[in-house]
């Protein structure tokens, strides 16, 4: 594939890499698998890039490919499943940033999110990223109504985990 296209792609990904890192931090539990997934998403993005026509925003398109890769294409090895590793990106809480109860609560929240299934995680992720229901529905391939119903269920699930 030609050089100019590759340059454009790498530059755009470099500028938007946060999106991919955030997906990786939700779907993996340690640094190695984070990097693994990041690489796989990069490969899938690059493979699909020639088909990206620019009718959507690059970042919007990235959300979809990144989540699709995390949910459907990425093979998790056993050690990656359900280990509570506080060293991971989302857990790197600086102690002085928050008061203690809030910090505790957030830690519990992140743990609760990690316990969710792949699809539920994707919903929470898109919610945290402030996406509207039409985008959530389009990304997952369900209707907007279904996305709303599902989101409410996930929210309730999270609340139950937090307030047993």
């Amino acid at each position: 594939m030609n050089k100019e296209l590759e340059h454009r792609f790498v530059t755009e990904l470099e500028n938007n890499q946060n999106i991919v890192h955030k997906v990786c931090s939700l779907y993996t539990n340690d640094k190695d698998s984070h990097n693994d997934l990041f690489q796989e998403i990069t490969i899938q993005l690059w493979k699909a890039y020639p088909k990206f026509r620019g009718d959507a925003k690059f970042s919007t398109w990235m959300y979809r490919v990144a989540l699709n890769t995390a949910i459907t294409l990425y093979r998790k090895s056993k050690k990656r499943v359900q280990t509570q590793d506080y060293d991971s990106v989302v857990h790197r809480i600086k102690a002085n940033d928050y008061d203690e109860t809030e910090e505790k609560q957030l830690k519990l929240m992140y743990d609760a999110v990690r316990q969710l299934g792949d699809i539920d995680k994707a919903l929470v992720f898109l919610y945290l990223e402030d996406k509207d229901y039409s985008e959530i529905a389009e990304t997952l391939g369900i209707t907007e109504v279904n996305a709303r119903v599902k989101m409410n269920r996930v929210k309730n699930k999270l609340r139950t985990i937090l307030n047993p």
Partner: protein, 214 residues
Amino acid sequence: MVDELELLKKDWQKREADLPKLSYDQIYGMTWKKSSSIVKWIFYISLIELVFWAAINIIFSDSETMEELKALHIHKVIMVLNIINYGIILYFIYKFYINYRKISFTDSSRKLMKAILKVKRTVTQYVWFNLIIFTTYLIINMYGVLLYAPEGQKIVQAASEDGNSFSFWAMVITISVLFTAIVLLLIWLFYKLLYGILLKRLRENYNELKKLEV
């Protein structure tokens, strides 16, 4: 009380600064790496399968085997079977290719999962087709051996001299059915395991999304 989810959302967005930062060169290097996605694995496995069964076919269709088949009076049937076999294998190669091409990563998650499961279905069909062909070969061969090979004729003759040719044939049929069933079961189990491991999580996710349709 502040809603926990709102709190989480605020924190999540604040945390961007903590994310790792990769350089242009690091990302550039990644575009040249090989993918290790499920689709790729399924595709490789199906290619190995294709080659494996085609190889078995070629190994068993040299001229010596053909002479033997002629002696057993079944070479014509086997030839027809071979032609059908190769035709169907070509069809499957085409199907594999089309399925693989159809998997576009920009589709929605549900569509993507559906496409991958379709690839898997084609592989299963291919495997069943091979098992059926294999069994058919086996049966025709057995028939030829019993009726035309000297050893086979001796056995059949001995049985009919004993006056119990009916129970003899019943036994032959029972044993071959049992044998075939066991072989089929083993191969089926093998595939169940192979693809089951690869696709378990995917199928669960797909079902979860599909549940919403109702």
